[in-house]
């Protein structure tokens, strides 16, 4: 199964991955509209870029084989898809208890800014290559089978 990996020595902390993520998950598919209009309505990047002095790294859901989020979900809203290996989130079923946010030790889940829901990476279901990896200008992000 392919996953998104990061070589942090190549990460320059530019945040283009976050913007690409925002755009691909927007209604408009337009960065400017996604940023200025949809973001205030609750749209959020699934990627997180950490920066600390000269260090930086872009992280997101690892789609773990044995995810702590799935284990913690009291509503059956987070499940593993055996066919694709993705960790799938169903916002309809979610009750917003935030147990997954607490349980994921990789910090890959965020609270949705406006509602009692979460946001997490869906590994860009419809794309061959996730948008964040496509956007990375220094090939710090890789989409590979390891």
């Amino acid at each position: 199964m392919k996953r998104v990996y990061i070589d942090r020595h190549f990460c320059i902390g530019c945040g283009l991955c976050e913007l690409a993520c925002l755009t691909v998950h927007s209604r408009s598919k337009d960065l400017a509209i996604a940023y200025t209009v949809e973001r205030p309505q609750g749209l959020m990047s699934f990627k997180k870029v950490f920066r600390d002095g000269s260090m930086c790294a872009s992280t997101g859901c690892r789609h773990c084989d044995e995810p702590a989020c799935v284990e913690a979900c009291i509503a059956g809203a987070l499940t593993k898809d055996p066919a694709t290996g993705r960790t799938v989130y169903d916002p309809e079923q979610c009750v917003g208890c935030m147990s997954c946010l607490m349980a994921c030790p990789f910090g890959a889940i965020s609270k949705s800014p406006l509602e009692d829901k979460i946001v997490k990476c869906d590994r860009c279901v419809e794309l061959d290559m996730p948008a964040c990896v496509q956007a990375c200008p220094n090939r710090a992000l890789m989409y590979e089978e390891r």
């Binding site: 600390d52 790294a57 059956g76 946010l101 607490m102 349980a103 030790p105 910090g107 390891r146």
Partner: protein, 427 residues
């Protein structure tokens, strides 16, 4: 191979998933007392409050049992086990043989010995049936009294408050005592009072007065009487270990299991709230009635029943509960005993309803509590779960509420985000 699972909660469901990872053909039967397909037990408070409909309670799709080849005996109580003959006998007269048995019998409400506690209008709050019974009366009822101060007490009180009842909690000492210190408990109390919940603190319940028809009419306490149409008794849960005890299995407070989730009988496993198992941090046998642990134990028990031999890493105490709009979380050791080398860092912002407590021992984060600001909780959890060193510099950042993957040891970071490719077979 014949597997039998007693119980149909999250531990049972996870066990089915674990068995089926390894054994596609063995026969599985679930026997459980509750008549429903598996549901999210914690969701009963959301349901009672009217936040979700009945169709959102179900933890797995309707086809789950069929898809996993599970035969169901629902609404059936197992009356006894015979470990020698490897059979279970049910209260309806049926009996079944097993090769491997799983006890996933959960917990029972802890009963307080109180006159009148068996009367009409007195409820417990741990099952869907409890929620349905309450839903039948909430529209007509005006006053409710909740006896207890823990998670179940608070969540049921919150739900009734949302149903516009006048709700008073009878609290012996403090709310959420097992998880919150005085400051955190006080913050939560203030928040709930502002929402309209009433508290009678330092009050010992004495009796539930029943009227001539046997219906609860008031709760007498050491601090005075409270009239009530509904009384909820919520003193927590204790492991349901009746069957195990009667069958002669090792039982302390819960059914004792080893790291493979086997009981003292090698063909009988146990998982979830009914167990007493090794805690990830203390290394001691603990009863830990939380959902994530029940799932995880069930999964490992299932795999091991089906021939696997994977040791369970132990349960990590964790709870994420939203109380009337105020998010709270606690992970690991949060109320450390005095004089055992624990250090505590506390950040309180009463105005902003924010609170952060870090418990540190031997340069490691042993646990934390967050109220209000919970966004970074997962990365705090990483420090507890993986036991990363907390240097002075890291400690300062954690105190400021800024955990980060960049504070992890470098090798761990690489293993997590950039592992070396495993050797691929040459096609």
């Amino acid at each position: 191979m014949q597997y039998i699972i007693i119980g149909n909660g999250v531990a049972a469901v996870a066990a089915v998933e674990g068995i089926r990872e390894k054994d596609r053909t063995g026969a599985i039967r679930i026997i459980s007392e509750e008549p429903y397909p598996t549901y999210g037990r914690p969701l009963i408070s959301y349901y009672l409050a009217g936040k979700i409909d009945r169709d959102r309670l179900w933890y797995r799709p309707e086809s789950f049992y069929k898809d996993h080849g599970v035969e169901l005996s629902l609404g059936v109580r197992v009356a006894s086990l015979d470990p020698k003959a490897r059979t279970v006998a049910c209260a309806d007269g049926s009996s079944y043989s097993y090769d491997k048995l799983l006890l996933a019998t959960g917990g029972r409400p802890t009963e307080i010995d109180l006159p009148g506690a068996g009367g009409e209008g007195v409820y417990r709050f741990t099952t869907l049936s409890d929620a349905e019974a309450l839903l039948k009366v909430v529209d007509k009822a005006k006053k409710a009294v909740v006896v207890g101060a823990g998670l179940i007490a608070l969540k049921s009180a919150e739900a009734l408050l949302m149903r516009k009842l006048d709700v008073t909690m009878v609290v012996r000492s403090r709310i959420m005592r097992n998880y919150f210190d005085e400051e955190a408990g006080g913050l939560l109390l203030k928040h709930l009072e502002a929402k309209g919940l009433k508290f009678l603190q330092g009050a010992t319940p004495k009796e539930i007065t029943l009227d001539q028809k046997g219906r609860a009419s008031k709760v007498e306490t050491s601090q005075g009487d409270l009239s009530a149409d509904i009384v909820i008794m919520a003193a927590g849960v204790s492991p349901e270990a009746t069957l195990a005890k009667a069958a002669g299995l090792a039982v302390n407070r819960g059914v004792v299991v080893d790291e493979f989730l086997a009981t003292s009988d090698p063909d009988i496993y146990a998982a979830g709230d009914c167990t007493e198992a090794t805690d990830m941090i203390t290394g001691e046998l603990e009863v830990l009635p939380i959902w994530p642990k029940a799932y995880n134990q069930g999964l490992y028990a299932g795999r091991n029943m089906a021939g696997g031999k994977t040791a369970h890493p132990g349960g990590l105490p964790m709870n994420s509960i939203n109380y009337y709009g105020l998010p709270t979380m606690s992970v690991g050791i949060v109320n450390p005993p005095e004089g055992q080398g624990f250090e505590v860092e506390r950040m309180v912002d009463e105005e902003g309803e924010r609170y952060r407590k870090l418990v540190i021992k031997n340069g490691r984060l042993a646990g934390f509590v967050l109220i209000g600001d919970i966004e970074k909780s997962g990365l705090f959890t990483s420090f507890v779960k993986f036991g990363f060193p907390v240097t002075e510099d890291i400690r300062e950042k954690l105190k400021r509420g800024e955990p980060s993957v960049l504070l992890w040891p470098e090798e761990f970071f690489e293993e997590t985000w950039n592992p070396r490719p495993t050797a691929q077979p040459i096609a």
